[in-house]
C-alpha cells in the first residue's frame, strides 16, 4: 500500500548515512549524493502531501497497535516531513573542516538527524518517540562539536549532561505510565483516561514534559541554549533553533493532546511558556552580540509557542502551529544573515552601507519576528491573542499582558539593532566578509517563502485551520487505531 511507503523517508537517509564514511574515502561524489537524496526526499514528501488529506496510520512490522509500533500521520506530520529535508538542504554544510571519511561522518550525522526528525514527526508510540529523540540528541551533539573548537566541546558536554538528565526523566515518566497502563501507543493511552487521572500519572507527565522539553528550549531546562548557539557553528545553531526544537515541540504536543488533556497540565504548560517568554526576551535585551540576541529570542519565541498550545481550543492549536512554522522559517534565516556579523552589536554601525541587501533582508525577517502587520508573524501573534482572550482563567488574562509587554521589549532590541545597522553617518568600523553564494541562495529562498506567505495568507490560514482541526479531533485518532485493531482480531 502507498501509505506504508512513508517509512522510506526514514530508511533511505539511514541507508545513506551508514555508507557515507566508507564512500567519502573513495570518491568525491558524496558532496553531491547526500543533497541529491534530500531533494528526492522532498519530492516524495510533496507527493505524500498531495496524496493524503485524511490522517492515516502505518503499522511497522505489520503488528497492530498496542503490540507493535505505529506511525500516526496527519497533515502536520506531512508538512514537517516536507520541511525537514528542505531546511536541512538550506542549512547544508557546503564547506567543512573535515576531509575523507571524516567528512563522510559529518554528513552522515546530518542524514541521521533528518531520519530522526522524520521519525519524530510520524511516531505514535511513547517509547519509540524516546528512541528517536535520543537519536536526534546524539546526532545534534555530533553537529555541535563539529566546529572543533574548545568551547564547542565544553558547551556540547554541558548540553549532553542536561539532555541526558532529561532523557532519564523522560524514561522515568514512561516507566510510570507503563506501570499504570501497560501500553505505550499514544492513541491507546488516549482511550484510557481512568488509569491516567491520578497523582503518579501527573508526575509522569511532568517528567516527560521536562525530559522532552530540553530540546524544545523549555524554561527550566534551557540553560544550554545561549552557550551552545554561541560556541558552535552558526548554521548548526540555526538548525537546532529552527528545526530540532520544533520536533521536540511536536512530541510535547502529541503527549499533551493525547495522553494528558487535563486542565492542570495546560496551566503548567502556560506557566512554563510564560517563564520562557519573559526570561528569554529580557535576556535578549541585555545581550551584546547578535548571536546572543537571537538565541535568547529563540527561547522567548518558543515560550510563545507553549503559551499558544496551553489554550485548549482550535484557535490555540492553530496559533501554536502558526507560531511554530513561522519561527521555523524566520530564525534560520536570521542566523544565516548574521553568520559573518560577529562581534558586538555596536561594532556593526553603518553596516547597511556595505551590505545593503543583507541589511534589508534582516529588517524584513526582524519585522516578521516582531509581528508587524503585513507579515505572517503578525497573524500568528494575532491568533495567539485571540485564543488567549477567549480562554477563561486569570492566568490567561495575565498572559495577554505578558505577550504584549514582551512584544514591546522585542521591538526595543530589534529596533536598536536596526538603527545601528542604518546609522549612515558613522564610518564603517570593520570589513564586511562576503557570504558564500549558497548562503545567499538559502536566505533568498527563505525570504521568498516569507513573502509568498504574505501574499497567500488566506489559503494558508485555511490550511492551518484544517491542520488544527485534525489535531484537535483526538477521538478520530483513537477510532482509527482501534478500528485497525478490531479488523485484525
Amino acid at each position: 500500500m502507498l501509505n506504508d511507503q512513508v517509512v522510506v523517508l526514514i530508511a533511505v537517509p539511514l541507508l545513506l548515512a551508514f555508507f557515507l564514511p566508507v564512500m567519502a574515502r573513495r570518491c568525491k561524489l558524496t558532496n553531491v549524493i547526500a543533497p541529491a537524496v534530500l531533494i528526492a526526499m522532498i519530492a516524495v514528501a510533496v507527493s505524500f502531501l498531495f496524496a493524503f488529506e485524511k490522517p492515516f496510520i502505518v503499522e511497522l512490522g505489520g503488528f497492530a497497535a498496542p503490540l507493535g509500533i505505529i506511525f500516526y500521520i496527519d497533515q502536520l506530520s506531512l508538512w514537517m516531513l516536507l520541511l525537514i529535508p528542505v531546511m536541512t538542504l538550506l542549512l547544508w554544510p557546503w564547506q567543512s573542516l573535515y576531509q575523507g571519511s571524516d567528512r563522510g561522518r559529518e554528513l552522515a550525522l546530518y542524514m541521521i538527524m533528518v531520519a530522526a526528525c522524520s521519525g519524530l514527526a510520524m511516531s505514535g508510540d511513547l517509547f519509540n518517540l524516546y528512541v528517536f529523540y535520543e537519536l536526534l540528541a546524539v546526532a545534534s551533539f555530533g553537529l555541535v562539536i563539529s566546529s572543533d573548537k574548545g568551547m564547542a566541546y565544553l558547551a556540547g558536554y554541558r548540553y549532553l549532561l542536561i539532555s541526558a538528565m532529561g532523557s532519564v526523566m523522560a524514561l522515568l515518566g514512561i516507566a510510570i505510565i507503563y506501570f499504570l497502563t501497560g501500553t505505550l501507543t499514544l492513541a491507546h493511552l488516549a482511550s484510557l483516561p481512568d488509569q491516567l487521572s491520578n497523582p503518579p500519572a501527573a508526575m509522569a507527565f511532568v517528567l516527560i514534559l521536562l525530559g522532552f522539553g530540553v530540546k524544545a528550549e523549555m524554561f527550566p531546562v534551557n540553560a544550554w541554549v545561549p552557550e551552545v548557539y554561541q560556541a558552535t557553528k552558526t548554521r548548526v545553531a540555526a538548525l537546532l533553533a529552527g528545526l530540532v526544537s520544533k520536533l521536540a515541540v511536536i512530541i510535547i504536543l502529541k503527549v499533551v493532546t493525547l495522553v494528558m488533556p487535563a486542565a492542570q497540565m495546560y496551566s503548567l504548560l502556560l506557566m512554563l511558556g510564560l517563564a520562557g517568554l519573559i526570561i528569554g526576551e529580557l535576556s535578549a535585551l541585555r545581550a551584546n552580540t547578535l548571536i546572543q540576541t537571537l538565541s535568547w529570542s529563540s527561547i522567548g519565541q518558543l515560550g510563545l509557542v507553549f503559551i499558544a498550545f496551553s489554550v485548549d481550543s482550535q484557535v490555540g492549536l492553530m496559533a501554536g502551529i502558526a507560531l511554530m512554522l513561522h519561527h521555523l522559517l524566520v530564525k534560520p534565516a536570521l542566523f544565516l544573515i548574521v553568520e559573518n556579523w560577529s562581534g558586538s552589536i555596536s561594532g556593526l554601525t553603518g553596516f547597511a552601507k556595505k551590505s545593503p541587501l543583507a541589511s534589508i533582508l534582516f529588517v524584513l525577517f526582524a519585522l516578521s519576528l516582531l509581528g508587524v502587520p503585513p507579515f505572517p508573524g503578525f497573524w500568528a501573534k494575532y491568533l495567539l491573542l485571540n485564543g488567549l482572550l477567549e480562554a477563561d482563567g486569570g492566568l490567561y488574562q495575565f498572559a495577554v499582558f505578558a505577550v504584549l509587554a514582551m512584544t514591546v521589549v522585542e521591538a526595543i532590541y530589534l529596533f536598536r539593532i536596526i538603527t545601528t545597522l542604518y546609522d549612515m553617518d558613522a564610518a564603517v568600523s570593520k570589513p564586511v566578509v562576503a557570504t558564500a553564494w549558497t548562503n545567499r541562495l538559502s536566505i533568498l529562498i527563505l525570504a521568498t517563502g516569507l513573502l509568498a506567505a504574505v501574499w497567500q495568507i488566506s489559503p494558508l490560514a485555511d490550511a492551518l485551520a484544517g491542520v488544527a482541526a485534525q489535531m484537535q479531533d483526538t477521538s478520530a485518532i483513537i477510532q482509527l487505531v482501534a478500528g485497525k485493531q478490531g479488523a485484525l482480531q
Binding site: 500500500m1 506504508d4 517509512v7 522510506v8 526514514i10 530508511a11 539511514l14 541507508l15 548515512a17 551508514f18 555508507f19 564514511p21 566508507v22 574515502r25 502505518v58 503499522e59 511497522l60 512490522g61 505489520g62 503488528f63 498496542p66 503490540l67 507493535g68 509500533i69 573542516l97 573535515y98 571519511s101 571524516d102 561522518r105 559529518e106 552522515a108 550525522l109 541521521i112 531520519a115 530522526a116 521519525g119 517509547f127 519509540n128 528512541v131 535520543e134 537519536l135 546524539v138 546526532a139 555530533g142 562539536i145 563539529s146 572543533d148 574548545g150 522515568l172 510510570i176 506501570f179 499504570l180 501497560g182 501500553t183 491507546h188 491520578n198 497523582p199 503518579p200 508526575m203 509522569a204
Partner: protein, 231 residues
C-alpha cells in the same frame, strides 16, 4: 561545600518519587500490550525468547534506531579526535600475561560472541550481548600490542554493511509483505537453531554492527589523539 538549592531539589525529588512509586501497582503489571505479545509472539515471529520477538519483531524499528545511535556516537567520537595529532598506542609495554593469553582468549571470545548472537532467539542473549563480546575480541590485540592498530576501513565497512543489511531486510519486507521490518521467511522448526525466519539474520547484523561500532569507539578512546595545541 554543599549547595543549598541542589540539596533541596534532590530531597524534593526523593520525596515525590517515593510517594509516587508507593502508589504504583507493583508486581501486578496490567500488560495490556504484553499479554498480546505472550500469546501471539510465537505465531507471528517463531522465536522462543519473547524478548527477542519484541526487540526484532514488534519493536524492530527501535532496535534499528538504537544501532543508529551507536553509529552516530561512534561517528561523533571519531570526529572529536580526527583533527588531533595521532600518538602512539596507549600501553607502551604489553603485560606479559596479556600478551600470552591473547592467543587463547581471542578465539574463545569470538566463538562465545557468535554463539550468543545466533542463539538469541532461543535463549537469553542476542545481538547486543554477543556484539559486546565481539567488540572486546577485536579490541584485545590493540590493548595488548601497542603496534597493533585497528583497520578503520574494515571496521567502517563492516558497520556499514551490517546496518545496510538490517534496513534492506526491512525494505524487502515492505515490498514483499507490505510492512517495514515485518518478519520474513518460514518460521522453521520451533526451538531449533535455524528457526524464527529472518530474526537470526537480523540479530547477526545487530551483533556485527554493535561489535564493529564499539570496537571503533574503544580504539578511538584508547589509541588516537595526542596533546591538543593548548588554547
Amino acid at each position: 561545600m554543599l549547595q543549598f538549592f541542589p540539596l533541596l531539589f534532590s530531597a524534593g525529588l526523593l520525596f515525590l518519587l517515593t510517594i509516587v512509586t508507593g502508589l504504583l501497582p507493583f508486581a501486578q503489571a496490567p500488560m495490556l500490550a504484553g499479554q498480546g505479545v505472550l500469546y501471539d509472539g510465537i505465531a507471528s515471529t517463531g522465536a522462543a525468547n519473547l524478548v527477542t520477538a519484541v526487540v526484532l519483531g514488534y519493536r524492530g524499528i527501535d532496535t534499528l534506531m538504537e544501532l543508529t545511535i551507536l553509529f552516530a556516537a561512534a561517528a561523533a567520537g571519531s570526529l572529536a579526535f580526527s583533527r588531533v595529532r595521532r600518538s602512539a598506542g596507549l600501553i607502551a609495554e604489553p603485560p606479559y600475561i596479556l600478551d600470552k593469553a591473547i592467543g587463547f582468549l581471542l578465539p574463545l571470545l569470538l566463538v562465545t560472541g557468535f554463539y550468543v548472537i545466533l542463539h538469541g532467539h532461543l535463549t537469553p542473549g542476542g545481538g547486543f550481548q554477543g556484539g559486546v563480546l565481539l567488540a572486546s575480541a577485536i579490541f584485545l590485540p590493540v590493548l595488548s600490542r601497542s603496534s597493533a592498530q585497528l583497520n578503520h576501513e574494515v571496521i567502517s565497512l563492516i558497520e556499514g554493511l551490517a546496518g545496510v543489511t538490517f534496513i534492506v531486510i526491512g525494505l524487502l519486507a515492505l515490498y514483499q509483505q507490505g510492512a517495514f521490518l515485518q518478519p520474513l521467511f518460514d518460521h522453521g522448526v520451533f526451538g531449533s537453531l535455524l528457526s524464527a525466519g529472518s530474526l537470526p539474520v537480523l540479530y547477526l547484523a545487530v551483533g556485527l554492527k554493535v561489535g564493529a561500532e564499539l570496537a571503533g569507539l574503544l580504539s578511538t578512546l584508547a589509541a588516537e589523539g595526542g596533546e591538543d595545541g593548548t588554547a
